[in-house]
């Protein structure tokens, strides 16, 4: 009935069922005029999977992620997490934000601590855990720095530590590197892949939104391709490259996969490149 647990405190896994199932999501924004952002999107996230969602600007990627996070209500359809529909944010699903979403008036440490304290974890324990996660993302020694003293990359590391400290099962990431320069983004990609593959951590399911084709191929097990607005799934691509991926960035297979994804993307847009 149950498969082997991979994390330290992993919950049981019903065989065959995905951890997260997005089912026929439709979202229309109504303020004055009607904007249909998402049109019947469905996909599954299986245990231990790294999913990337890619699509043209404005196709509803962020909206979709926010629905999964329980921040936004879908007009129809539902998101099933471990067999139950998601209605509101849960500590089992957390998020990393595009522009970090740190509180400028709190130190790195306090930013990570806040969700832990809110979740009812004792102050001393929260402190210890925040310290551990900050060290894990490479910010040991920066506990007392404030966001404005940190570089963009370091800020996003705080964002990652904060999202992981609660020990969620699903991590949602909305273009987490698009506000960073390429070199910084590269090292953060490596960090995230390491965290995803770390069996000592309970967070093994990543859903990441991106604009960047190479990034998606480098990181994802499976890529969901969305059409221009209103977004719907135009295809799905399983990345055939073995891991660790950064050892295969020169493989012809890598470039073939990138080309294939490019093809899928441009076939959905009016203007051909």
């Amino acid at each position: 009935m149950t498969a082997q647990p991979t994390g330290v405190n992993a919950s049981p896994r019903p065989a065959g069922a995905p951890i997260l199932s997005v089912q026929h999501i439709v979202k229309v924004f109504r303020n004055g005029s009607e904007v249909k952002a998402i049109d019947d999107v469905s996909f599954d996230v299986n245990y231990d999977e790294f999913i990337c969602i890619i699509g043209p600007s404005g196709c509803g990627k962020s909206t979709l992620l926010r629905i999964v996070a329980g921040l936004e209500k879908a007009d129809s359809g539902q998101v099933i997490f471990r067999g139950a529909p998601i209605a509101k944010p849960s500590p089992k699903i957390t998020m990393v934000f595009q522009t970090f979403g740190l509180l400028p008036w709190k130190s790195a440490m306090e930013n990570v601590e806040l969700p832990l304290e809110v979740a009812g974890i004792a102050k001393a324990e929260a402190k210890q855990r925040a310290e551990r996660y900050l060290r894990m993302v490479g910010l040991g020694g920066f506990e007392n720095a404030y966001p404005h003293d940190l570089s963009g990359g370091m800020r996003q590391r705080v964002g990652v530590a904060r999202a992981l400290a609660l020990g969620p099962e699903v991590l949602l990431l909305d273009e987490p590197f698009s506000a960073l320069d390429e070199l910084t983004a590269k090292s953060l990609r490596v960090l995230l892949l390491k965290i995803w593959g770390d069996p000592a951590l309970p967070t093994n399911n990543f859903v990441m939104v991106t604009h960047n084709v190479e990034e998606a191929v480098m990181m994802a097990d499976r890529i969901i391709v969305l059409s221009p607005r209103p977004g719907h799934v135009v295809g799905e691509l399983r990345v055939p490259l073995p891991r660790p991926r950064f050892e295969h960035l020169r493989d012809p297979l890598f470039f073939q996969t990138v080309d294939k994804l490019m093809g899928m993307l441009s076939s959905t847009t009016e203007e051909q490149m």
Binding site: R66, A69, G70, L71, P89, P91, T94, M95, F97, Q98, T99, G101, L103, P104, W105, K106, L114, P115, E117, V118, A119, Y146, H148, R162, L166
Partner: protein
């Protein structure tokens, strides 16, 4: 649309007049339309003078370094000194200088001018300085110079800021109208003197003297309606027109609603000698000047205190000392009375803090908050609080002891004078909080009290401190007005405070050195509080502010 609003305005005014005739009495209110027109004319005249002066000197100060070095400190001092504090001296001088009637009129116009000028001047300076260098370079590239440059670059660029400043100036002008049109006091011999110029402000106070409270309130109502209507018909319309050009001038103004105080904040920064030029903060003598001001202030206080108490016979200052130490001058009351006045301001301020922070929380948590907030704000801003004060006091006095009634009326006056600055800044900041912060609190389930203390309040803190700085400035200006009240022949109603000492020195004793001395004390306290408390706090929290991009 505009025609409809105009007709509505006329109908409302006529209906008010008819109702007034019916309920207050035809004979009492028959001249109100004339008074209203006279006040309107006075405020409008001074507005245009203030506009001309502000534009001329503002553009000069913004474009010439030398002019800036001379003009900015002058205007800065002008606006730091509480207007109603030095009004008595000015009036006394003018009345000696000019023939009967003319002195009063010039005095009234002068008070209005000082109420209106600063916003416009600093508005213009800030806007000219904020012209993007790319626009300047393009203009130079096309060979614009002299009048062309002024006409096609500077004036259009200044327009939005000028409008925002004009709204403030216009409202401040009306607010001070009540104080400028009627000054009445009894000298030490109990002899009553009245200086007045005909207008709505005169009508409001004069009706009280005649014992007609209803007529006085009626005057307040008409004044409030005129302010509200002129805001809606003139300023909102003009601002909407100018709004079309805004994308180009985004650095100056973000939003119709939030512009005025944002601008003010900007200029406050400018004249604290922290110039914001093309993103670079040039900090000059700020630190030094604060210390110098503090030092001079404390040294002079100590010196005067020493002279006053020891009563040393130093011939050079003897006359002055004698004037200062007259028992009626009550110089020994300065420390305690200063505390009373500060206490009065503090009570009103703390109430404003509670109201504005509550509104900040509501603005973030309640979706349709703004639908109720903006109309109420517009309405509240139209209340001419200085005009409200006297009828309010008389109304309260009908059922309460005088001192108590005066304290309550003073509290309400201060509340109305201070609350808008705080509300405006704090609510604007709450509105501008990035949606990402809202999502962060939702994802990490920071809710209830934790959300208030950890997210909303820190998020609005810089705006809150800026608003506090402005609110105290506004408060000092009117607290003087509330501590000394002369109605009809009766003895003056007074509250122990600096404002009372000032008015007593000016009106009852007619002692100019003493007035100057009290003014000096008051300005010193105002400037020190601003420099030592608000600016420090602002500097401290600025770096923790949310980044708006």
């Amino acid at each position: 649309m505009r025609g409809l609003r105009l007709i509505t305005a006329v109908v409302v005014l006529v209906a008010t007049y008819l109702l007034g005739s019916f309920f207050v009495g035809q004979s009492a209110v028959q001249y109100v339309p004339v008074y209203a027109l006279l006040s309107l004319g006075r405020v409008a005249l001074v507005y245009f003078i203030a506009l001309a002066v502000g534009l001329g000197f503002g553009i000069l100060a913004a474009t010439s370094k030398t002019a800036e070095r001379i003009l900015v400190p002058i205007f800065d001092i002008g606006q730091s000194v509480p207007i109603l504090g030095y009004f008595p001296i000015v009036l006394t001088f003018l009345i000696i200088l000019f023939p009967a009637g003319v002195g009063n009129e010039i005095g009234a116009l002068f008070l209005l001018f000082t109420a209106m000028e600063w916003d416009i001047f600093f508005g213009v300076v800030g806007a000219v300085k904020a012209i993007p260098s790319s626009v300047e370079e393009a203009a130079r590239g096309y060979g614009f110079s002299g009048t062309n440059h002024l006409r096609y670059v500077v004036l259009p660029a200044v327009l939005p800021a000028l409008l925002s400043a004009s709204v403030l100036a216009w409202n401040d002008g009306w607010t001070f109208d009540a104080a400028s049109e009627f000054v009445q006091f009894a000298n030490s011999a109990g002899q009553l003197t009245t200086y007045f110029v005909p207008g709505l402000g005169y009508f409001i106070t004069h009706s009280l003297n005649m014992g007609n409270l209803a007529a006085s309130w009626f005057g307040v109502l008409v004044m409030g309606e005129i302010i509200f209507i002129s805001n809606q018909l003139i300023w909102h319309t003009l601002q909407n027109k100018v709004a079309k050009h805004k994308p180009l001038l985004a650095s100056v103004i973000r939003d119709d609603f939030q512009s005025p105080l944002r601008l003010r904040k900007r200029f406050r920064r400018i004249f604290s000698f922290r110039l914001r030029q093309s993103g670079q903060e040039v900090r000059a003598t700020n630190q030094l000047s604060t210390r110098v001001v503090a030092l001079i202030f404390v040294a002079t206080l100590a010196f005067i205190g020493f002279l006053a108490y020891a009563n040393l016979p130093i011939s050079a200052v003897e006359g002055f000392v004698a004037a200062l130490t007259t028992p009626d001058g009550q110089i020994y009351n300065v420390p305690l009375y200063s505390l009373f006045t500060i206490g009065r301001l503090l009570a009103a301020y703390l109430t404003c803090v509670a109201i504005s922070l509550l509104c900040a929380v509501l603005a973030v948590t309640k979706k349709n908050f703004y639908r109720y907030f903006y109309p109420l704000y517009d309405l509240g801003r139209s209340v001419p609080y200085l005009a409200v004060f006297l009828p309010l006091f008389v109304t309260l006095h009908a059922s309460l002891p005088a001192g108590f009634a005066q304290e309550i009326a003073s509290f309400i006056l201060l509340l109305l004078a201070m609350v808008w600055y705080l509300l405006f800044n704090v609510v604007t900041a709450a509105r501008a909080l990035p949606t990402e912060l809202t999502e962060v609190s939702a994802v990490f389930r920071v809710s209830g009290w934790r959300r208030v203390t950890d997210i909303i309040l820190p998020g609005v803190l810089p705006a809150f401190i800026t608003g506090s700085l402005l609110a105290w400035g506004g408060g000092w200006n009117v607290v003087i007005y509330s501590e000394y009240v002369q109605i009809g022949q009766s003895a003056p109603y007074v509250l122990p405070g600096l404002g009372y000492l000032l008015d007593n020195a000016a009106y009852v004793l007619g002692d100019i050195p003493l007035v100057v001395f009290f003014l000096f004390i008051m300005s010193g306290i105002v400037i020190l509080l601003e420099r030592l408390v608000w600016r420090r706090l602002l500097k401290r929290v600025e770096r923790f502010g949310v980044e708006f991009n």
